[in-house]
Amino acid sequence: MQWETVIGLEIHTQLATQSKIFSGAPTRFGAEPNTQACAIDLGLPGVLPVLNAEAVRLAVRFGKAIAAEVAERSVFARKNYFYPDLPKGYQISQYEFPIVGEGRVEIVLDDGTVKEIGVTRAHLEEDAGKSLHEDFHGLTGIDLNRAGTPLLEIVSEPDMRSSQEAVAYARKVHQIVRWIGISDGNMQEGSFRVDANVSVRPLGTATFGTRAEIKNINSFRFLERAIQFEVERQIDLLEAGGRVVQETRLYDPDRDETRTMRTKEEANDYRYFPDPDLLPVEVDAALIAAATADLPELPDAMRERFREDYGLGEYDANLLTASRDLAGYFETVAQTSAEPKLAANWISGDLAAALNKAGLEITASPVTAPQLAGMIRRIKDGTISGKIAKQVFESLWNGGGDADTVIETQGLRQITDTGAIETLIDTIIAANPGQVEQYRAGKDKVFGFFVGQVMKQSQGKANPQQVNDLLKQKLAGG
């Protein structure tokens, strides 16, 4: 039987506020346990939450960035359950009335096609603390530094049909939250966590299969692997005549498998009800205007513009809009050099490879955008060849100054003087009568030998087109 995979994602992204969502405690990562938890975060008796306005502003920004309706009135609710790292015995979240309603994002698939993924809602909530099972013999330590950290939970429609689409969507959301400055998206630090709802159904059926939810995936690679494993597990189960059980599972990257965490029967009844300690959140037009006034051009719009303005393909345009910094770098190079295609090739080619190898972000690139543009201008005007350019690029990477300096000091200027090239060719023809004979006897392959010789003699600087043309003339003319 042919199976179809159905995936929906719930993404928890940490909002980039200075303080927690309901207290003034700082949100800095990596502090000593329980040094960033105040009385409110600890859930001491008599304390009360006060909403952080910045968290609301950032949620509004996200809503507008995905073309969603921002609710004029949203309501915080309590999600009640007992857990040692949940100090109040409830998590303050939003339930019936989330701040962000339906929206959509576009993903670009590997073949360049664009697919729209629906966002059901996004709501504000507080994070819980962390249970520490290591370093405590027979005990569990509780670190409440993370308790009360503002999260935006972004819930998608079950619109994805493969692990690749799910990863593309997660990457897209990751791109957006960083792009509009609402989250640092740091996955190692838990600022961007994904829960995947995965089910399979016979291809062509309309109803969904029973889903399993894989919790707390913190890398795109793990997301892909977890979904792949889960899809295979469900298909194997169904094909063997079994039944998928609705449950929560965990992905274990060491063993590359998902495991049962709790079944539906063990699930909590969260007893949601509106939090009487907090007033409904009212968002008016003025607040939306203030929150979105400095919203940058969004990645989808920029991708389209790159296609139109710079003549890039969907794939390149998507790649170069992966982050605002990268897109900005590209635009500088493209505009300064007036060679957008060359700029795109160099950035997604040699520069990306070098950055990747050195483990650097584009913002830390040793080759600045003006430097790269300067080099591309010299390719364009024929001062250097594409091949020599690789040598120039390496010098730029190693701090050799701007492209012109590198070209001059290392004598890399292309030889375009016809006379000089002719002299070279004449010398080589004279020195290799045998090969000349062979060429004239119709052995065309020998032509490459002459090109090679000329380039070698010129240390690669002779203009390859001129070399070609002149060689053909000379060898023919003999």
């Binding site: 009385a39 600890l42 859930g43 001491l44 008796p45 008599g46 304390v47 009360l48 939450p49 006060v50 909403l51 309590r78 009640n80 007992f82 040692p84 100090p87 109040k88 015995g89 409830y90 509780i142 009844d269 007893r271 949601y272 009800f273 009487p276 300690d277 907090l278 007033l279």
Partner: protein, 484 residues
């Protein structure tokens, strides 16, 4: 000294007839003598009180004193007090010392009041008789075999027995007004949002409100003046100016429109209590008020609605008491489940456990709409009743409690009978309105409370209405035998 009201005490302190330290010492001596029997205090804070009194004397000498400077008061043990145990009447918090002051505590301290200690209360403010306290029942100073009412029974008894000049209380369904009535003192539950809830241990967040318990409306006005006002730490606190309550006390009552809800005078109201209320109403007529009958048709639903809403909120509010971070923890827990179950089973008394279970039930999947949601809708209707009534009348009057103080133990095993003690007070909490109880003519030597309900933020009017009666009558001046 203990027979003086706050205004007289303040005068004496200012004129140096005696110092705040002397006054405080006098009250501490009274507590030492009378409290072992009454059990009104859970914690007496003699040393910090004397230290505060010393500071008050310095302020009095420096001429920077306010009306409450050096006045000895007590806080209900629901208000967090930095460095001083806050038990909330529960074994669960028997070992809890808060690292902060409640806003109300902070404000009264800033006004110069001296805190003698923390008063007894029903556990987590759940009760109408003070019998659910882990620290044992409080006795009614008027009759030691009877309850003082609850949940602010310790504060009411302490004020009635002259163990402090005034005290703080909290009122979720009548917990200031009912004990004030049963102990013969004056108590006011302000509009929801008038006093900050920061640092006040939550029972039912949407109903809880702090207020003063005092010997007279004039004293209550001074206390409320210090307690009320916007607090950015409480999102439900309301940012509206606090009027000068004392300045408004003497306004003439001619033309005051008093509404008597027929639902508050029906079956279940003790006939002699009703007669006592009638006597007070006649006094108001004599002062120029016009009395008419009104109807609050949904008020019979207020008890059932309350016993859905309040337990629902309390089941969630009390979830933090889990034995993990502070408070009672059971001995040698086997695992997490055991830690939770035994810590909570040992830490909470039966009434608290009953309400947590009711609340958990009404919020459960499949029952939420039928109970919680429906209760919220009726709550809205109850508020609408009042809104309509206040287009016709200025204040609403009736009994604070259907009976006088009942014997200790009489209703202990009948929770529904106990819940009906608050039948006249609960609706105002559900609507968020201010309500007050003042002493009127006693029945068989036991106090009776007249309840006065006003429109939102009309605490000033309630105090004025109460004060004018207290100017004309002496019911509020009666002192229990042995406490004079």
């Amino acid at each position: 000294m203990h027979e003086q009201n706050i205004l007289a005490l303040a005068d004496d302190l200012r004129t140096r007839r005696y110092s705040s330290v002397e006054l405080t010492r006098h009250y501490l001596e009274r507590i030492a003598r009378l409290n072992p029997d009454l059990n009104a205090f859970i914690t007496v804070a003699a040393e910090p009180a004397l230290a505060a009194a010393g500071r008050a004397d310095a302020a009095l000498a420096a001429g920077t004193a306010g009306p409450l400077t050096g006045i000895p008061i007590a806080h209900k043990d629901i208000f967090c007090t930095q460095g001083l145990r806050t038990s909330c009447g529960s074994r669960m918090l028997d070992n809890f010392i808060a690292p902060y002051d409640a806003t109300v505590v902070e404000r009264l301290a800033a006004a110069g009041a001296v805190v003698l200690g923390k008063t007894n209360m029903d556990e987590f403010a759940m009760g109408s008789s003070n019998e659910t306290s882990w620290y044992g029942p409080v006795k009614n100073p008027w009759d030691h075999t009877r309850v003082p009412g609850g949940s602010s029974g310790g504060s009411a008894a302490a004020v009635a027995a002259r163990l402090c000049a005034a005290a703080t209380g909290t009122d979720t369904g009548g917990s200031i007004r009912q004990p004030a009535a049963l102990c013969g003192i004056t108590g006011i539950k302000p509009t929801y949002g008038r006093c900050s809830r920061w640092g006040m241990i939550a029972f039912a967040s949407s109903l809880d409100q702090a207020g003063p318990m005092a010997r007279s409306a004039a004293d209550a006005a001074l206390m409320l003046q210090a307690m009320a006002g916007f607090d950015p730490r409480d999102s439900t606190s309301i940012d509206t100016p606090v009027p000068d309550y004392t300045a408004g006390l003497n306004q003439d009552l001619a033309g005051l429109r008093i509404g008597l809800p027929k639902e508050y005078f029906g079956d279940g109201l003790d006939a002699r209590t009703a007669a006592s209320i009638d006597g007070a109403i006649r006094e108001y007529e004599r002062l120029g008020a016009r009395v008419s009958e009104i109807s609050l048709p949904n008020s019979p639903l207020s008890v059932p609605v309350y016993y859905v809403v309040a337990p629902a909120e309390c089941s969630s509010n009390l979830a933090r008491f889990d034995g993990v971070r502070y408070g009672h923890r059971c001995e040698a827990p086997r695992d997490l489940e055991d830690l939770y179950q035994r810590s909570r089973a040992e830490g909470f008394g039966p009434e608290v456990q009953r309400r947590i279970m009711i609340g958990t039930y009404v919020l459960s999947a499949g029952y939420y709409d039928a109970y919680y949601l429906k209760a919220q809708k009726i709550r809205h209707l109850i508020a609408e009743d009042f809104k309509r009534a206040f287009t016709q009348v200025d204040v609403i009057m009736g009994p604070s409690s259907p009976t006088t103080a009942f014997p200790i133990g009489a209703k202990r095993d009948d929770p529904v009978a106990m819940y009906l003690s608050d039948i006249y007070t609960i609706a105002t909490n559900l609507a968020g309105l201010p309500g007050m109880s003042i002493p009127v003519a006693p029945v068989d030597g036991l106090p009776v409370g007249l309840q006065i309900i006003g429109n939102y933020f009309e605490e000033g009017r309630l105090l004025n209405v109460a004060h004018r009666l207290q100017e004309e009558t002496h019911w509020h001046c009666a002192v229990p035998t042995g406490c004079a």
